[in-house]
Amino acid sequence: MTTPEVTHELVPTARERVHLGIGDQVSRLGWPSASLLFAALVVIPVLFLATSLLRPNAEVWRQQWDTRLPGQIVSTLVLLVGVSLGTVLLGSGLAWLLSAYTFPGARLFGWLLIAPLAMPSYVLGFVTVSVVGFTGPIQGWWRNQFGADAWFPDTESMGGAIAVFTLVLYPYVYLLARAALRDQAHGAYDVARSLGAGPIEAARRIVLPLLRPALAAGAGVVMMETLTDFATVQYFGVDTVSVGVFRIWRGTFDRDAASEIATLVLAFALMIIGLERVLRGRARYGTAAGADAGFAPQRLRGSRAAIATTVCLAVLTLSFLAPVAQLVWWATSEAVGPRGTPLFSRFLGYLQHSLLLAGVTAIVCTAIAVVVTNASRFGQPRITRLAARLTAVGYAVPGPVVAIGVLLMLVAVDGLLGHLGTGLPGVIATGSFLGLAYAYVVRFLAPGLNATEAGLGQVSEEVTISARSLGARPMEIVRSVHLPLSRTSIVTALVLVAVDALKELPIVLLLRPFGFDTLSVWTYLLASESRYEQAALPALAIIVVALVPVGLLSRQLRMSSAPEGPAEAATIGTWGGRTDEFV
């Protein structure tokens, strides 16, 4: 996200002059209204739920406050802090290791390390609990070796939950940190080094501040994912506020009470958004003419190289290779077992549905994100920034809450049209693909928006201003300058949304059209009855499908990551060159 205050002080006159340009009136109205429209689309279903707060049920609050709520708030805080610390340390550490050094396997790890993006946290959750938990083979072996009372860390605990979330979510931080290191930090680091700073001092004083926006954005995404999870935490017996919402909804059948407690989840989410803004800081760092020369990664040798390789391999094994191996084992033993794989014939259908839903969601979300992001460059900044923030609200709302909100809204629209004498045909209102995709877009706009904002944030505002002062209209600038310059971030947006949508569960459970079962639905339904062996096949399928967009992303990384030599400079040079063509 840009903070135009700073820029404004830097180039007030330039900006004012630009505002006199041709077509400016159109853009001043068009961009903000587009971004406000999208914000409204997101906010309205959430508002439908928030109406429950207008008549708060004091008894529910008091009862919850006297019993579980304080504990839930504490566990939520501990979990959020633990997971964000874990992911920031692991993600930025790995990003630095792979950007600043080269060692055996470094290029491979550079893109393999984002593979856990394809792993749903609830899948790693149930695999971990059944393998590393008390009843799993590892602790069984341990007790055989060291006696029945031998100490072993408690897996079904807060620590276990933090570890699983960290392993699954660190790629968000890793990706953003690598992008920031690649696009921004290298030149500054080299300059600092050539001016006599040691590597640690240069990293601390130059790289870390430059990385801060990326780390804050990454940690923001990670915290949102953790906050709205309700499936994984339950495997570990961690009682968060989101779990509380479900418990009230399912146990006391009281949707209103549940949505009231859900506003607490919203409060946490707003806190995260605020925290992220603060951590990103007001400063922004754009390079005036695109990217400059890359890092020259230092070659590690001997034991240091071995340690680096081992660390990467260990992370990859724990977060991806080992659980996948376990799933393959389960799926195979199920397939050759007496029962065979149940419903095997339907998997193609599940696969198609998952693909379609993820694809549509990713494209729509990214398109909207690009419009909203660019609006902040051309529209009235106060309005467009507000719109951007509102648009991100959906991500902060737990999936089922979004789903119910969309359901209520569509039913209301249906009723309204009914009064006007038309009415939506049949069950378009509920249980249609349109309603489902709409809810997905509401829920997943934020990750797309985060990525496109980060991307455009790297295109200096001066570039935009220059283009406009040369007479380019906003649409032209978007098409010819902003989009090419932030192409990486657009692919990132597509991928993040697609992968999130593939893994999404509660919304598709509630809103899917008849017969529209997806892989995540079947994984969840099977795993929720502890049929892990049978859940293994659909879980594997999610992972394999999600690896496709993740692979796209890694190709992007490989294309632009350091291949130790002039080829890299050439790639970067092209980007720089392209910038020059327009400016």
Binding site: Q63, Q64, T67, R68, V129, G133, F134, T135, Q139, G140, R143, E156, Y235, G237, D239, V243, F246, R247, I248, R250, G251, T252, F253, D254, P342, L343, L355, L356, G359, V360, A362, I363, A367, A403, I404, L407, L408, V411, G426, V427, A429, T430, G431, F433, L483, R487, L494, P506, L509, L510, F514, G515, D517, V521, L525, L526, S528, E529, S530, L552
Partner: protein, 341 residues
């Protein structure tokens, strides 16, 4: 990969899907929303073969399907709503989702305490929630025989229970409230909470008892039957709880149901009723056997694994499913008070 190509491909995919989903009108078939997921397909196939009526079904979680039927209102596609747990059935009835049925066949097949007093829903399968124990560690005379005994501090650290978010736990506690009243139930449940290791699911409870984390626990009987399928020599055994009618707590083992009803706005109420009737009679084996549940229909014999290992003639708590179903919200609040996770 060019962005434009992705967008075009996506638009084409969406378009073809929307076209496809607008196509043809289906033949007369029963549409079932079901919170019960397993072994249904085989039963429905058999129903189609025997009656010529095909069945389409939408699996999901109970609460989501209930919300969906409620929101769909008159437009709902569902003819039948099947779900596990009496609480779910009771709340669906309270929300007016079911139509009352006039079916002598169902009244005959389903005992009165396992169906709605107004014939809105009917139980179709029985699941007993009872005490299980490690048979290598405990001798038969050491095994606790009532739910109430588990609150005794001698089980501190030796008891494995399922979390309070689970509907089976909630129903069991609701039945305790019905029998003992709020304050006594709170005392017992607090005792459990003090003693127990709380786990996420029944299979985990069984495995934890086998591995020695706990000596005793409470689980649905069919989970143990499933574990026996994997390992017939598992050192975990079941004891029917609260069996001695001579004692104050000898009311019988808590039994829950899975069941269903015909939706209020069903398009095919007659076919829907026919399906329920079939499931309660000729279809009992197809519905009940694969998941090792007990038939609701007393004229149908349970499948051999549970008949051999658990027996058939145990004393059941005859508390109305509708009663403990309606006490479910109280059970949740009581467990909150008891500090039961």
């Amino acid at each position: 990969m060019s962005l434009r190509r992705v967008v075009i491909l996506g638009a084409m995919a969406l378009g073809s899907f929307l076209l496809a989903s607008c196509g043809g009108d289906a033949d007369a078939e029963v549409v079932v929303y079901t919170g019960r997921h397993y072994d249904l397909e085989a039963a429905f196939t058999q129903f189609a073969e025997e009656t010529g009526i095909s069945v389409a079904f939408l699996p999901g979680t109970d609460v989501e399907l209930r919300e969906r039927i409620a929101a769909e209102g008159e437009e709902t596609q569902a003819d039948v709503f099947l779900t596990v747990d009496a609480g779910n059935l009771a709340i669906a009835a309270d929300e007016g989702l079911f139509a009352p049925l006039d079916s002598p066949l169902l009244d005959e097949a389903v005992p009165a305490n396992f169906r709605d007093p107004d014939s809105l829903w009917f139980g179709l399968t029985l699941r007993a929630r009872t005490i299980i124990y490690n048979s290598d560690v405990l001798t038969l005379d050491q095994v606790p025989t009532t739910y109430e005994e588990l609150a005794d501090p001698i089980w501190d650290g030796r008891l494995c229970l399922r979390n309070s978010s689970n509907v089976y736990t909630q129903s069991l506690v609701a039945s305790m409230i019905a029998h003992h009243g709020e304050s006594e139930a709170l005392r017992i449940v607090s005792g459990w909470a003090d003693d127990a290791e709380i786990l996420a699911n029944d299979t985990l409870i069984i495995d934890s008892i086998a591995a020695g984390l706990c000596d005793v626990g409470i689980a649905n009987h069919y989970y143990l039957a499933r574990s026996y399928e994997q390992d017939p020599n598992l050192p975990v055994a079941l004891v029917w709880a609260n069996q001695d009618p001579a004692t104050p707590n000898g009311r019988g083992t808590h039994v829950n149901i899975s069941g269903g009803g015909v939706t209020r706005y069903a398009d095919n109420p007659d076919l829907a009723q026919q399906l329920l009737e079939w499931l309660a009679t000729d279809g009992q084996h197809a519905l009940v056997d694969p998941n090792h549940e007990y038939p609701i229909n007393s004229t149908v014999a349970p499948e051999s694994l549970i008949a051999d290992r658990f027996g058939v003639g145990f004393l059941q708590d005859d508390l109305d499913a509708a009663t403990f179903g309606r006490l479910n919200p109280d059970a949740v609040r009581l467990m909150d008070q008891a500090g039961y996770e």
